[in-house]
Amino acid sequence: MNRAFAGRWLPYVVPVSLLVAAALLVALQASRPLAVLDMWRPWGEIGALAVVMTAIILTGGIDLSVGSIVALSSVVMGLTWQAGWSLGTSMATGLLAGLAAGVTNGTLVVIGIAPLVVTLATMASFAGLAMALSRGERIAGLPEQFAALGQASWWGVPTQFMLFVLVGVAGWCVVHHTRYGRYLYAIGENREAAKFAAVPVRMVQWSLYTASGAVAALVAVVYTARGGAVVPTAGAGLELPTIACVVVGGTRVTGGRGGIGRTLTGVAILSLLDIGLQFLSGDVRVPWSDVPWRFSANTRLLLIGLLVIGVAVWNERATRQAATTT
């Protein structure tokens, strides 16, 4: 296999084989295919977040606060509704809250603090704000129409899927067919050179993190509707599967390489794996010992963690090796 060929196809080996394995897992296990659609709902939300996360990671940045923005947005929405405002106004306020959170992230990144550090700090701040505002209480009793937003299916298609498609298509257009998208790759590849090439680096970064906040707010609506109540710990830990989708799909963490299509693959792989494993619940005998291994939610999370590391390392090393041509 010559170098050029390997270079083009190597990055696809892992995602494709994982996808095939995951699909097989589900196909073999699922006795009620329609139930799969329902189990897919959380992944629709994660998928939407992953689309924006892809754009951010393309520039070499990261947003660890997406889960917390979901919580904050959800809480603000719930509190506004509880105060007596209409459903529409409450949702709008929730969206505004998410947007404000995104603006905070964007501003701090643009003034020169590393995105990692900013979003680490805001992750705690926004989650804490959500907790403080709600005083740890659930807000239940949201109207039926609202619950439909997260639990209904229109023409058999879950609402989450529609959100995912919406965000996915918008993201794909922006990243692959606009000037803005080209700028993302340039900034991730070489930030200095982007500045010299008259790319509006600051503007792009600010708008990216703001958009992340806005999309997280949209996800918050669907997430809350699915759960049926506003829970202050909403979205905790969402950043891991989100980043996992991006990384497993093949986008490089250092920026400059990857795309929305790759992320869609990542979402497909992880969601199918997760669902397939859920069917495998119960005890599985490990051949060389007597200890049964329980395939629980914990195991699934463990696998995701391992996948993130493994695939990220593979991507870095495989694409690096393929790129060394003399």
Binding site: V117, L129, S134, A186, F196, V313
Partner: protein, 833 residues
């Protein structure tokens, strides 16, 4: 006549190639003991490469080197230094957050004793001795970042002199020195001469060369063209050798001069000055139809003017007009809108997007022109890229080829195509043919001439005399931050230009003023603020609550603070090394979980307790080492790795415990933390011992100092031979060990462990570290600060409990504190610069 003594340093037939260019071609050179040997040549002649080979930065591709008759093959600058070669570079990397004394010590290897204990006294003494030779005192304990450029050079020179180097290499040493400082330098050089050292002196200043040097060697285009005693030559003869006697004569380029008709003025600059003083009162005009050559040595201000015009540097005063319209150079985006295009000097760092295709590289700056509004049109892009490819004769398979696969010359053409696509009124090029092969060079010149004829104003900055002479219709010469001369038409000649470009006879005539050192910042400023904050918190708590000053509360506070202190020290260590570890909370839980399971084993307590502790520490260390190993070997940023391992470690804990709580631990273990050992509470004792151990390791042992040094500057660390792998493995292992220790301590205090224990702890640990003064970028921080930060956090949480603030506000407090600490850290770093 006595036979000539064997040379001290000798190079025979040394050749060095870089992609696309031969930097040194079969150069033979020798340096005798007790001699000052000057090395002259234009930029690009090969001087830097020669110095780098002598200093040990890289090895020659061919040829050999001997030192005092013995063949040498050093593998790193550290080896060369050990052999007695001391180099003072024009721009040296140093460790900005470490003291001057330590910087000097790290360059030659820290003086260590048994087990890596740093001999501080000796380190400081060596530094003091070196600094004592300077006329103006410098405090060797201050952070090296506070030194001005001149001071930095002086310190390096003093250190080299002090070390009794056998060979001293000086690269443009007086470029940043005043007249007095230069005089001091010459005194030191003479001292070394009499001591028998050989001195290799690179400079453009003729006056210095003829004052100091015994022999002079001229390099041109990578070859040695002349060597002789300085008494046998003159400055004019030297310039002729540097430039090449026949080059200035008529050639193809010269014939074209004067054929183009000068059109209207497209660029007008009036009395422009730099905010940082790099150039003053520069006025110039560039006309359509002509190529304006700009010649000047590095530091003369010519590149700085271009960058200021393009909006990359701050201007002070002056006016700018493009095509008659007044504009401000606010940013590159604004500059491009006004019709200015700029081709940067450093192709690799400032121009090329190496992972992207030729097409992407070509069209990046003209996307607004090639699409409809914000949408892009891939077909139009490809068409434009192909057109440029044809016009500029760019050799590539097709425009989708990754630009990294092209030669330097073709890459430069792509960048040029990028500029041309902007259809600029004024095109400024900075070193357009540096690192470019001869054929591409000629093509680029032809392209520029065509552009000029088409009406663009071309400003070509170059430090290659021949290029300037052959292609310019007019030449501006920069020197010491001002325009020293202007030549036109037949008056353009290499000798005339070179003569005007050399810095004035008095060195330091227009040295850019360094900002005055921040004497206002005392060393312990951040720690004082912390102590004050802690004291204030204690007073507030004592005043507003009754329960604070009770013994129960205080012991409890001490206990939790001990846990936080230990964990925060772990987080701080990884941050100091320039990394970060967000899996510490899960690692704490996992190690404590393993320890807890061992404790519950059906064996007597005196066996299980030590076994549990060892097991926990082992798990912690392993976890930390895994984080480091994956990060290093996989070349993935620690944040992604630890994001993954955070989940993995938590998952392992749940798998081990089956989700159950671990409780009912042996009494001996549970009582340990609250028991009194010699009157001191067990937790507090452990916390204090840990803090002391970490203080000693990070401050007094070579391993710890290397960790901090690496975080301070990875590039400088590489230069002095500090291993990336070793420092990160050590730092992460330490983090894991401390997490395990904190976990066992908390297990002893609470007596139980749930699957969710430790969630979010890493955030608080990082917060305590950053509040305690640890810089998030690495290399700066103190153990005392971290302890104070942990104490402050403990006091705040204690306050939240006592004031009966709902516990739902805790996370907000943590997040808010971390946010403030991070912003304050940024402000601190900005002010320090």
């Amino acid at each position: 006549m006595p036979a000539r003594p064997a040379p001290l340093l000798e190079l025979v037939g040394v050749t060095k190639r870089f992609p696309g260019v031969v930097a040194l071609d079969n150069v033979s050179f020798d340096l005798a003991a007790g001699e000052v040997h000057a090395l002259v040549g234009e930029n690009g002649a090969g001087k830097s490469t020669l110095i780098n080979i002598v200093s040990g930065f890289f090895a020659p591709d061919a040829g050999k080197m001997t030192l005092a008759g013995q063949p040498v093959a050093w593998r790193s600058p550290v080896d060369a230094r050990a052999q007695g070669i001391a180099t003072v570079h024009q721009e040296a990397d140093l460790f900005p957050t470490l003291s001057v004394a330590e910087n000097m010590g790290l360059e030659r290897g820290l003086p260590v004793g048994w087990g890596g204990w740093v001999r501080r006294a000796r380190l400081d003494q060596q530094a003091r001795d070196a600094v004592a030779q300077l006329d103006e005192p410098i405090d060797e304990r201050q952070p090296a970042a506070r030194l001005s450029v001149a001071q930095r050079h002086m310190v390096q020179i003093a250190a080299a002199v002090r070390q009794s180097a056998r060979v001293l290499v000086l690269d443009e040493p007086t470029s940043a020195l005043t007249a007095e400082e230069s005089a001091w330098l010459f005194r030191q050089i003479r001292r070394l001469k009499t001591a028998g050292a050989g001195i290799l002196y690179i400079s453009h200043r003729q006056s210095e060369i003829f004052e100091l040097a015994d022999r002079i060697t001229v390099l041109r285009d990578g070859r040695r063209v002349w060597t002789g005693a300085s008494s046998t030559t003159t400055p004019e003869a030297l310039i002729k050798q540097m430039v090449g006697r026949d080059r200035a004569a008529a050639s193809g380029g010269v014939a074209r001069r004067g054929t183009t008709v000068r059109q209207k003025a497209r660029l007008e600059v009036q009395r422009l000055s730099a905010a940082d003083g790099r150039f003053t009162e520069v006025s110039l005009r560039a006309y359509g139809g002509e190529i304006l050559g700009v010649y000047g040595l590095i530091g003369s201000g010519r590149s700085e003017v271009a960058q200021t015009l393009f909006g990359l540097r701050q201007a002070r005063g002056g006016a700018l007009r493009i095509d008659g319209k007044a504009t401000t150079a606010a940013s590159p985006v604004r500059a491009v809108e006004s019709g200015l295009a700029y081709l940067p000097e450093d192709r690799l760092r400032q121009s090329i997007f190496s992972g992207l295709s030729v097409r992407a590289n070509t069209v990046i700056s003209a996307l607004n022109r090639l699409g409809h509004g914000w949408l892009t049109n891939a077909a139009r892009e490809r068409q434009s890229a192909n057109q440029q490819r044809a016009n500029l004769a760019i050799k590539c398979r097709d425009v989708e080829q990754p630009i990294a696969e092209l030669s330097g010359g073709n890459q430069q053409k792509v960048v040029l195509a990028r500029c041309l696509l902007m259809e600029p009124a004024v095109l400024i090029l900075d070193e357009p043919t540096r690192g470019v092969d001869v054929a591409s060079k000629a093509e680029i010149h032809r392209i520029l001439r065509d552009q000029a004829e088409a009406g663009t104003a071309i400003v070509m900055i170059s430090s290659e005399l021949a290029e300037v002479v052959e292609n310019s219709d007019r030449v501006l010469v920069f020197s010491d931050g001002r325009i020293a001369a202007e030549f036109e038409g037949d008056a353009i000649s290499a000798e005339a230009i070179a003569a005007k470009a050399l810095p004035g006879t008095t060195p330091g005539a227009n040295v850019p003023k360094d900002r005055p050192g921040h004497k206002a910042f005392r060393r312990w400023r951040s720690e004082t603020a912390l102590v004050a904050a802690n004291a204030a918190m204690i007073l507030i708590l004592a005043a507003t609550t009754d329960a604070f000053l009770t013994l129960d509360n205080l012991w409890g506070l001490l206990a939790t603070t001990a846990v936080w202190c230990i964990l925060s020290l772990g987080a701080a260590t990884t941050i100091l090394a320039g990394a970060i570890d967000i899996s510490l909370g899960s690692l704490l839980a996992l190690s404590a979980g393993v320890g807890g399971l061992v404790l519950k084993a059906p064996y007597p307590a005196y066996m299980t307790i030590p076994a549990a502790v060892v097991a926990a520490l082992a798990v912690g260390a392993l976890g930390g080492l895994s984080n480091a190993a994956i990060s290093l070997w996989g070349r993935v940023h620690p944040i992604v790795v630890t994001l993954g391992t955070m989940t993995v470690y938590r998952g392992l804990l749940i798998a081990l415990t089956g989700g159950d709580t671990i409780s009912e631990l042996p009494e001996g273990f549970v009582n340990w933390s609250s028991a009194r050992w010699l009157g001191v509470n067990g937790s507090a004792a452990l916390g204090a011992a840990t803090a002391l151990a970490m203080y000693l390791w990070l401050n007094r042992f070579r391993g710890g100092r290397h960790v901090v040094a690496f975080g301070s500057s990875p590039t400088a660390a590489r230069q002095v031979g500090i291993s990336h792998a070793r420092t990160w493995l050590a730092a992460f292992a330490a983090g894991g060990l401390l997490a395990a220790l904190a976990g066992m301590l908390e297990l002893s205090q609470t007596g139980s462990l749930q699957s969710g224990t430790g969630t979010g702890y890493e955030l608080q640990a990082i917060a305590a570290a950053v509040i305690g003064g640890v810089s998030i970028t690495g290399g700066r921080g103190s153990v005392g600060g971290v302890c104070l930060g942990a104490l402050l956090l403990g006091l705040i949480y204690n306050g939240l409990v006592l004031w009966q603030v709902s516990r739902y506000h805790y996370e907000l407090v943590t997040g808010g504190l971390l946010l403030c600490a991070v912003i304050a850290d940024l402000a601190w770093r900005r002010l320090e610069r």
